[in-house]
């Protein structure tokens, strides 16, 4: 099927919206748009970061998910207490595949679940005593932890516990940071506010303690950088880090995939902050720019075209040695890139993709697909903001579909009409589309594969996409009794 025209796409949106009652129709219409590259401001064509309508299926998470699951969780040598009932932490435990090195339960704690397991009496009488006890127990059982964060679940804010006071007292007793995070799930419209709250808590409780900046013996170098907003999903940060190191930079900190508390504390000493996931970590980058005069840039390590662009942009902030380093890295990996493209492009050329992911990948991965000759015909964010769509409009082709906080129904209808060759979204969407017979890749967790960042990641990305799209299983989805008689005859004759 050839690409839809602008009119066809507009008609499609109208048709899909028709089933809603009038009020819902009006609201959802603002979140669906046809891309127009000439628009400077996304606000004119699409609304985002608004409360989801009750009754529609949304795919968003909560603020606790944004703080514990995304920002704080991967910091491996700290213990993150899911403060409240047991479910929030247990059902989200270790689901994001933030890889790390260390001995779990001894000096790293990434895949473990620590919770205060609230019962009725804690809700009635308050949980502060329990929290204080947990902090002491942790110190006794896991003496090698470097600090604790208290990730509030919904009830904490509702019953008015004073986790700040308990944390302060605990920090003084342990002589380690104890960070209270007010990321109760009901705050904000999605996990996005949780990222912001988590960033602010790093600013207030890690960068400075008792109003003073943290002291260290660290000797800064001229080529120090930090990787911010890379959660090392399937090893993403590792395949990014080697490229930066090969070009001559020193990576001081990884936020927060495979990251440590010490790295976070050292970040205010770097020369340049490199932001991969803008949506979840721009807040802290802005703060460091103002307070410590550290510039930041957004980069994109998906697909060779964007990698080369990003490496050059990063190098432009440094001297000629680094610039030459960047060119050397690009040249070194070119043969590998050529081989990957030669192998897979013919198998993937012209295939059409629809994406629906979180807050960054809906625009960042477009380059990877294009490098393989594929076309992204629809994209959307679960919890993006206006500035994300501003950045997306330029990346997407004209007349392609944009959908914000898409509902289960809308997404299915779009797929039925647009008929993409591949969908990239999350686990909640996966089985619906696979049952509809559409090839699907999870683009949150890389479908248990990865890394996809960097040159090494691109090779894996290309293999995975080929493996999914050209899998013979999609041709045998029609059960025998539904096969048309002619088809059978042909099959017999053959």
């Amino acid at each position: 099927m050839s690409a839809l025209t602008r009119e066809e796409t507009e008609a499609l949106i109208k048709e899909v919206l028709e089933v809603y009652p009038e009020k819902a129709q009006k609201d959802r219409a603002k979140h669906l748009a046809v891309n127009d590259q000439s628009v400077e401001q996304s606000k004119k064509c699409i609304t985002s970061n608004r409360k989801s309508l009750p009754g529609v299926m949304t795919i968003r998470g909560c603020a606790y998910a944004g703080s514990k699951g995304v920002v704080w969780g991967p910091i491996k040598d700290m213990i993150h207490i899911s403060h409240g009932p047991v479910g929030c932490g247990q059902y989200s435990r270790a689901g994001r595949r933030n890889y790390y090195v260390g001995v779990t339960g001894v000096n790293t704690f990434g895949t473990m679940n620590f919770t205060s397991d609230f019962q009725e009496k804690d809700i009635v009488f308050g949980g502060d005593k329990k929290l204080a006890k947990i902090i002491n127990e942790i110190e006794g059982l896991f003496p090698l932890h470097k600090g604790i964060s208290v990730q509030s679940e919904c009830p904490i804010g509702l019953i008015g516990d004073d986790i700040e006071a308990v944390s302060k007292k605990g920090a003084a007793e342990l002589d380690k940071p104890v960070v209270p995070v007010r990321c109760e799930g009901f705050r904000g419209v999605s996990q996005s506010l949780g990222h912001h709250i988590a960033n602010d808590s790093i600013r207030d409780w890690v960068f400075s303690r008792d109003g003073k900046d943290v002291k260290s013996e660290f000797v800064p170098g001229p080529y120090d950088v930090s990787i911010i907003g890379d959660y090392n999903i399937g090893g993403d940060a590792w395949s990014s880090r080697i490229l930066l190191e090969e070009m001559g930079l020193r990576v001081v900190a990884q936020w927060s995939g495979d990251g440590t508390l010490a790295e976070i504390e050292l970040t205010p000493k770097v020369k340049l902050n490199l932001i991969h996931c803008y949506r979840s970590m721009n807040y802290i980058a802005r703060h460091m720019e103002e307070k410590y005069s550290i510039p930041w840039i957004e980069y994109n390590f998906f697909g060779p075209t964007k990698i080369a662009e990003s490496l050059r942009a990063i190098a432009a902030h440094f001297d000629d040695k680094i610039k030459a380093g960047a060119e050397a890295v690009i040249a070194k990996y070119q043969p590998m890139v050529d081989a990957v493209i030669a192998k897979y492009r013919t198998r993937l050329e012209g295939k059409r993709v629809m994406l629906y992911v979180g807050g960054l990948r809906p625009r960042h991965v477009i380059g990877s697909y294009e490098d393989l000759g594929m076309e992204v015909v629809g994209t959307g964010y679960e919890f993006g903001h206006n500035d994300d769509y501003d950045r997306t409009i330029k990346e997407m082709g004209n007349a392609t579909l944009l959908y914000d906080d898409v509902t289960g129904f809308e997404f299915e209808e779009f797929v039925k009409k647009v008929k993409p060759d591949l969908i990239g979204s999350g686990i909640k969407e996966k089985y619906i589309f696979q049952k509809m017979g559409v090839p699907f890749r999870q683009m949150h967790s890389w479908d248990y594969s990865g890394p996809y960042h960097g040159y090494d990641g691109f090779a894996i990305f290309a293999r995975d996409m080929d493996m999914t799209i050209n899998n013979p299983c999609w041709k045998i989805l029609t059960p025998p009794w539904q096969k048309k008689p002619e088809a059978e005859a042909i099959a017999k004759a053959a």
Partner: protein, 74 residues
Amino acid sequence: MANIMIRRGAAGEYVFYLPKRDLEDTITSMEFDQADKWGGEIKLNNGGAYYVDPMPAPPKLPISVRARRMDAAE
């Protein structure tokens, strides 16, 4: 009154940021942008306008300042 942050974008333009609402936008015009006076009315690309008390000299950017909303964005 709102807390806002003003910084320079990649192309040297002023960029406005409102942390409370995670709103980022380019500044299309600033009333006073000279060596001895900086601030005043700020116009945003999205149509909004804010007022920052003029400062005697251009500050080091980025800077967080209090601003009054004159014409709301969105």
